[in-house]
Subunit: 229 residues, 2 copies
DNA sequence: ATTATAAGTGTATATTTTACAATTAATTTA
DNA sequence: TAAATTAATTGTAAAATATACACTTATAAT
């Protein structure tokens, strides 16, 4: 078959990644300094161009791997950005993805390559093009996801304490929660398994580790349960 | 400046529109019969190709106008679809949009052009490519929007009765609501203005018309109010 | 005048959310 | 080794919200 669409224009297609990370203290965003024009030297999201042999999801995962060296990251598409002049150099449509990097993988990020830096979520520098808009949208999406699905755990190591989890939610939603109410609510569906072991770095008493119980979660959701934080 | 990105591939970019309509009885989806290959003769969403001189939002509005002859329709981007083989003829990335056509404009849709037909939302025919996936996603998005923002009104004429509004919500959420509770909840924020006039077609008693009070809604949201149905 | 039809209305109960403070476990220090 | 320090852990009462439920009313048709 020949190309039935060849009277139409073709476009460069980029993927841009909003990469969230959590170092058990602060919610962060990974940015790079652009090493090519336009906007060379400015802060930017990590991005790359779609190539013919890959799906857009694959392209996003590839771009993420190129920057961080990490595979199997939580990755979800946000939406496309297609204003005519969003990239001053040429017409480029970008599909934005957001990624969640857990605190184990967090430290392994190769931040030298591409001069990457983590920024505290409320201290993000000026970004090129429409990248700020993408970040804002991603944060709203993250909030919504965290209030209807157990994706918060993607930002934590496999074993985590309830104070750590609460701190994460407080950073994501930018507000404080009452300890007792938080624990009540997060434990009520029974999708967190309490371990015998305690974390002893951050307090004298030590806090029990918990683990996300995927099997239990799947059971619940199959039975129509709606997680709601 | 020359083209700094010219080592990268370029792609056909389509927009596909999930067009919801409400005829005051049923929630419907507008589909067309494709009049070109691939998939000629099959049911499909209305779509078109992005051209160089337009943003993707503009392209979606144009495509919608071409099909329906209607302008100023509620239009929101869903997301991009970019599997390698989603279109068997050539590599095409599609950005899906969903549109809400109110019942006044509903009747004006030029359904001959493009052999378009309205389908009841739970009697949608088999669609080409990944269009069914897009529709499912759009319906979920519509539900969420309607439970957090007053977009439902986009599907109704300017003046509508509470029974009409309730029926709309029941069709969107595919479940029944208690009359008294529904009225209580929808009226509580005070964003619906009761008119003197009654609608007299559908009952002997007649039902009072209401109107969405945008000014009041804006006041509320500026003061941090969150609409929540 | 009677009947039929859909619109309109209130209250009690259950559930969920919120507010709030003392006890416990373990380390550090005096 | 006793006392002080620190963060983790726990329950209950009040407020707000959601749910369940049935009769009256306005009007057109007969």
């Amino acid at each position: 078959m020949t190309h039935p669409y060849n009277k139409h224009s073709r476009f460069y297609l980029a993927v841009d990644c909003i990469i969230f990370g959590f170092d058990t203290k602060e919610l962060k965003l990974l940015c790079i300094r652009r090493n090519f024009e336009p906007g060379k030297g400015k802060w930017s999201l990590m991005g790359g161009f779609l190539e013919m042999d890959e799906s857009i999801d694959e392209a996003a995962a590839r771009v993420l791997y190129e920057l961080t060296g990490i595979e199997n990251i939580y990755l979800e598409q946000l939406q496309g950005y297609g204003e005519r002049d969003r990239d001053p150099a040429d017409r480029v449509i970008s599909i934005a993805y957001y990624a969640l990097i857990n605190s184990v993988k967090f430290g392994k990020v190769i931040s030298d390559k591409y001069s990457a830096s983590w920024f505290n979520i409320n201290q993000i520098p000026e970004l090129v093009f429409d990248h700020k808009e993408m970040v804002d949208k991603a944060l709203r999406r993250l909030r919504r996801r965290c209030s209807t699905q157990p994706v918060g755990f993607e930002l934590l190591p496999e074993k985590f304490t309830l104070p750590q989890l609460q701190n994460l939610y407080e950073k994501i939603f930018d507000r404080e929660f009452d300890k007792r109410n938080f624990r009540k609510k997060i434990l009520s569906p029974g999708i967190l398994k309490k371990l015998e072991e305690k974390e002893r770095q951050s307090s004298r008493k030590g806090a029990f580790y918990y683990q996300f119980d995927k099997q239990r979660y799947d059971e619940l959701t199959n039975n129509g349960y709606n997680f709601d934080m």
